[in-house]
């Protein structure tokens, strides 16, 4: 497997760095004896409505002075019961629910869900649909990472990167809108294909974005990667070993920062990801800084994948030619009675799937996103379960934050890249 270990631009010891200047190192506490004080532990409540919790997360911390002894995360403040609602909906009607789950990278969720349904139903989508979905998923990986980058930068006190990243997010919003009509809630996929083919000129707009985006990324790199404040606040903070990270169920960039090269795109490939030439960045120390570097590198790899996907995008139909799955074209519905009835039946009755179950993991921007579907042969799922990557990642926060300062807790929380819509579902 192609792997890449990140070359550190800054050293970890206060020696001379590669650029000949002394490299900054994290602040060490002063070595003064602990005064004998009659102290008691303190209980601090952060959230659920707090700008630094990236949503409605609530953390109850037990503090000794400023040192975190224990953190109890309380979640469920955004529990919207997606999974229950899915049991009342046909396979295609669930698609609009999926993008409200992870509103930071909605297209990955759209694609992951229909991929699981197609796997269950035994449908093989067309080559064009495969490449289009790869394009959409990689685009939204950048989309999700950009929001993480902007908000994390705010959490360490840098506001400018937020404005830069939102500038580029607006470009992706426009791409979303040009294709799907919605800026966030895209609902672009259907079982057996997409809701429509790519519009004219869309690929050209995407190429425009790909040309300008690396410049933004380089600019943010210049602002943050060697920034002493960021380094001081992230290096050595919230570190977790590779073994622990696997045991705690970390996936995605968080796991790879600890040095485990597990990427669903490489290890359990779907949509010919094994034929794309890209590298999986892995870190060494598993701390916040490595998680930052891994995500920054992932965005560059996504750009590379996007370029390859654009180059290989084949012509041809985007939906499968299967009347039990795909709708007839709108023109046919309006002019042909048979097509009209066909359309009506598919919409009202839904697609019937075989009984059985199916677990389909994809690599989302947050980690391994698994869609688990249970069917009893009807048009609706018996159970639609989402394996939420952020849910498992955030459960480790008390392990990561123990012994650090409360200000570091904010950084650790930011570095995990959570989205509450998916944690609470």
């Amino acid at each position: 497997m192609a792997q890449k270990t990140i070359e550190y631009a800054v050293g970890r010891t206060p020696e001379m760095g590669p650029d000949g200047r002394p490299t900054p190192s994290p602040l060490e506490p002063f070595d003064i004896p602990e005064p004998e004080l009659d102290s008691e532990h303190m209980l601090i409540n952060i959230g659920p409505q707090h700008p630094a919790t990236h949503g409605v997360l609530r953390l109850v911390c037990e503090l000794d002075g400023e040192t975190v002894l224990n953190v109890t995360p309380h979640i469920g403040f955004l529990h919207s019961s997606f999974e229950k609602l899915g049991e009342y909906r046909t396979w295609n009607q669930i698609v609009p629910l999926t993008d409200r789950m992870d509103y930071l990278a909605p297209l990955i969720y759209n694609c992951a869900y229909v991929m699981a349904v197609e796997k269950l139903l035994g449908i093989e989508v067309t080559e064009r649909a495969k490449v289009v979905r790869v394009i959409l998923m990689e685009l939204d990986r950048i989309f999700g990472h950009l929001l993480w980058l902007g908000t994390t930068a705010i959490d360490v006190g840098a506001f400018t990167p937020f404005l830069y990243t939102f500038e580029d997010r607006e470009r992706i919003y426009r791409l979303h809108e040009a294709y799907t009509g919605g800026r966030i809630t895209t609902s672009a996929t259907r079982v057996g294909g997409m809701m429509a083919d790519l519009p004219e000129n869309w690929i050209a707009q995407l190429e425009d974005f790909l040309d300008s985006f690396p410049r933004t990324l380089a600019e943010v790199h210049r602002l943050l990667t060697n920034n002493q404040i960021l380094i001081g606040r992230t290096q050595g903070i919230g570190a977790i070993s590779a073994e622990d990270a696997v045991n705690f169920g970390f996936t995605g960039p968080n796991l790879r920062a600890s040095g485990v090269a597990y990427d669903v795109r490489k290890d359990n490939p779907y949509y010919d990801y094994e034929t794309y030439d890209f590298e999986v960045p892995i870190g060494e120390n598993g701390d916040c800084y490595d998680r930052y570097l891994v995500r920054m590198e992932e965005m560059e790899q996504s750009v590379a994948i996007l370029r390859q996907a654009i180059a290989r995008l084949p012509e041809g139909p985007i939906n499968v030619e299967d009347p039990s799955v795909s709708l007839p074209s709108k023109t046919d519905c309006m002019s042909d009675m048979e097509s009209m009835i066909h359309h009506f039946k598919l919409i009202t009755e839904g697609i019937k799937g075989p009984p059985g179950d199916c677990y389909f993991p994809v690599e989302a921007s947050k980690g391994e996103l698994g869609m688990y579907l249970v069917s009893d042969g009807g048009p609706k799922p018996v159970r639609w379960r989402v394996r939420p990557p952020s849910f498992v990642n955030i459960s480790v926060i008390s392990e990561l934050a123990r012994g650090h300062l409360i200000a570091d807790l904010i950084m650790i929380n930011a570095s995990l890249d959570i989205v509450l819509g998916e944690i609470d579902r």
Binding site: Q49, P51, G249, P355, S395
Partner: protein, 236 residues
């Protein structure tokens, strides 16, 4: 769908029912256990504790095991050098309704061997208890709490088994069970009144209240004394 069966639109209050006459039991093609190295090894080692083996969705192997021996079998799958399922991706449960047993589903993935396996345990409705796998995988901690919250399955030996998504004084039951109505058991008015009940006990678990001090006395012209500054960082 036959007429006497409730469709999704009519079934909102009672919960959905199986939509097809064939029933949920019909699942999975019978498969050769030698297609998957771990399945063959499981049959060889644990024999009758492996109840059933099937292949779903083309190539996904599912093993039904004896719920009384789940930690033993899963622990072996994790530790045996030939299998090494070190990543517990997911723990969830499935309720088919109609009085059928609940299924606890473990999704395993082996990072070194690049293999996946799904393990299921059937729990009859009158004994909804199973051993926790938190000692094996820490990732099961929250996942099992969620299953407890939404399905009411008790995990023996779990370090901190309490509700996770719903409020911990939630009184309407376990929402993902099929007999739970989509809009809950109480009326919206009652749900709203219960939600706005601002009692400190609702927001802090006993361990936290033992540590915290009494809420500061503030003059507040209401009978309900406000708790510590819940939900308002600015006021803190």
């Amino acid at each position: 769908m036959s007429d006497e069966k409730k469709s999704g639109l009519d079934a909102v209050d009672e919960g959905p029912v199986p939509s097809d006459g064939s029933g949920p039991q019909a699942a999975g093609a019978p498969a050769d256990k030698n297609d998957h190295p771990s399945v063959a090894a499981l049959f060889e080692r644990f024999g009758d504790a492996i109840r059933h083996h099937e292949v779903n969705a083309g190539d996904q192997h599912v093993v039904h095991i004896d719920p009384a021996r789940n930690t033993e079998i899963l622990g072996w799958l994790r530790d045996d050098p030939a299998h090494r399922y070190d990543l517990l991706a997911d723990v969830t449960a499935v309720d088919y309704g109609g009085g059928q047993p609940l299924r606890v589903v473990y999704q395993l993935w082996s990072i070194p061997n690049r293999m996946g396996l799904r393990v299921k345990c059937l729990l009859p409705l009158d004994v909804l208890e199973i051993d926790s796998v938190v000692p094996l995988w820490n990732s099961a901690n929250w996942l099992e709490r969620e299953v407890y919250d939404l399905f009411g399955i008790t995990f023996r030996g779990h370090p901190d088994l309490r509700r996770i998504l719903m409020p911990h004084d939630y009184a309407e039951g376990h929402p993902l069970r099929k007999d739970f109505p989509l809009r809950g058991r109480f009326s919206r008015a009652e749900q709203t009144r219960r939600a706005l009940n601002q009692d400190v006990d609702r927001f802090y678990i006993p361990a936290e209240r033992a540590l915290g001090r009494e809420p500061q006395q503030v003059t507040f012209p209401s009978q309900t004394a406000p708790g510590p500054d819940e939900g308002s960082e600015g006021g803190a």
